[in-house]
Amino acid sequence: MDGPHTSGPSTGAAFQPLVDALLVGDHKLLAAVAQRLIEQGCSREQVVTDGLEHAMGLLDDKCTVESFNLLEIMLVGRAVSSVVRVLYPDGYAPTQGRATFVIATLEGDVHDLGKNIVRMVLAGKGFRVVDLGRDCPVDDLVGAAQREGAVAVLVSGLISPVVSQVRKLRPALRACGLAHVPVVAGGAALKQLRPEALDVDYVAENAFDGAHYLERHVSGAPAA
């Protein structure tokens, strides 16, 4: 992330338009608000922590298992992406972001909407996410985890054939000396199975549930 905060507006009120625009998913307005804040002297870090992360926290509280739906989250995700593009046109560098995760939809599954949402939610929370795309071989994901210094590996799966691929992840990580890197799974198919059935550390009910687990992991708090 950026260095120390600069001298721009720092009160919560200054960021309220950004929070409001994010909560209604207005990506064009949000990008304009973010640009204005930068021009007024806010640091990129302030926009992320006082704006995006605050708004994502409010959204998180609203999104229960019963009320989570792709449409609303996608709108927010698109809005987050528009801000990240304003702040970091080339994406987060390895030295930026609270921590780095690698994410993919594994080989055999080309449905990447869930993965994209997780990526956007985590970006909104200030994390750097390296996206390996869809139909991704296990070895490519493990290689990226090693190369990027990832603190967790995330996989999303919509269809059942991907289950066998997920089960290959842990042994592949172990073989590369990454046994300590947790694996988090989610998506319509994978969330029907228990972590031990998939040989992963956590199965997330939705993007926010997964983010909670990762927040705890990054902060060193015990798993819930």
Binding site: G25, V65, E66, S67, F68, N69, L70, L71, E72, M74, L75, R78, G108, V110, L113, N116, I159, S160, P161, V163, A188, A189, Q192, L193, A197
Partner: protein
């Protein structure tokens, strides 16, 4: 019938069970029919399905699909770009468009061989799912906010598409045509969106199928449907699938006079656990004792690669029922 009907959602598993690749199964109506009938005999079920995959409608309109031997095809190019107007589309002719004839051929064969001894079910994609096929799911969802009139036009086209394809299936011998609309699930769109944009169009599809001779109507939406299930009866669903997110008691409360089908967890069929499946199936049957109006099934498709022993265990749960 002297027991609870056994109607598991066995589609691609029939191919695996018959030693066919999914690619061949999805291209050959005779092979599909043969595999479905074999699966029915093997597991002693009460239905066969001419369900192919969720690429059929888009393919019939010109979308390219990628096929593999061991899984369902993927739509690899959208029929409509993000800025395209659905008015440029013309309804396909089911007798000749894409693989729609495969479905019709399978229905004719299955009905010819089974008569009325088992349910012969067809399948169409509901309006939201078909719309997602045409635009791609992300673009279709963004249209809801960026251009609601264009989304409405696309949904209207998808509604006419479902009706035309469904009526052709009834003409080919289907007793009923199941309307699958997974993209209408509250996991994808909020219940308010469902009520405003989707319920009226699903109502039109179900009414047209009934008028076209369907023995009954069946709406199948997977996922956490508690927020929308109560409007199924109003929009004309005689049978409603409910998924594992809802208990039998909750589904009965929301739809007291509708026949319910469900709700074993589909991924539970992957790893061998026949004792657990049988126990869960027996509990479900017991939950509907006295009420009736229940079809023992899974809440979503049983995966093609499911363990056969698990499906047999589901059937075993009905022995002595």
């Amino acid at each position: 019938m002297d027991r609870t009907p056994l109607v598991p959602q066995l589609f691609g598993h029939a191919a695996v069970s018959a030693g066919l690749s999914l690619r061949d199964y999805l291209h050959d109506g005779e092979a599909l029919a043969h595999a479905q009938i074999c699966a029915r005999e093997r597991y002693r079920t009460d239905a066969v399905f001419a369900f192919l995959d969720f690429g059929v409608e888009a393919e019939a309109l010109g979308a390219p699909l990628s096929f593999r031997d061991d899984r369902y095809p993927d739509v690899v190019g959208s029929v409509l770009g993000a800025d395209d107007d659905p008015a440029r589309l013309r309804l396909p002719e089911p007798a000749s468009a894409g693989r729609m004839p495969v479905c019709l051929r399978a229905l004719r064969t299955m009905r010819g061989r089974l008569g009325d001894s088992a349910l012969v079910a067809g399948a169409v994609a509901g309006p939201m799912t078909a719309c997602a096929q045409l635009y791609g799911i992300e673009n279709a969802l963004y249209l809801a906010i960026d251009d609601p009139p264009r989304l409405a036009a696309a949904l209207d086209f998808s509604t006419r598409l479902a009706i035309r394809y469904g009526l052709a299936q009834l003409d080919a011998g289907a007793h009923a045509v199941i309307v699958f609309d997974p993209a209408a699930s509250p996991a994808v769109v909020p219940p308010g969106f469902f009520r405003e944009f989707l319920a009226p169009r699903l109502e039109r599809v179900l009414a047209a199928l009934r008028d076209g001779g369907a023995a009954f109507t069946w709406l199948n939406i997977a996922g956490p449907t508690a927020g929308i299930l109560d409007c199924y009866a109003r929009i004309g669903a005689d049978v409603a699938t409910f998924d594992y997110y809802l208990s039998a008691a909750e589904a009965c409360r929301l739809l007291p006079r509708t026949c319910l089908a469900g709700n074993l967890k589909s991924l539970d069929f992957l790893d061998a656990a026949p004792d657990r499946i049988e126990r869960q199936a027996r509990a479900l049957v017991a939950a509907f004792e006295g009420r009736g109006g229940f079809l023992l099934s899974s809440g979503c498709e049983i995966p093609p690669e499911a363990a056969a022993g698990n499906i047999a265990a589901m059937a075993a749960a009905l022995s002595g029922d």
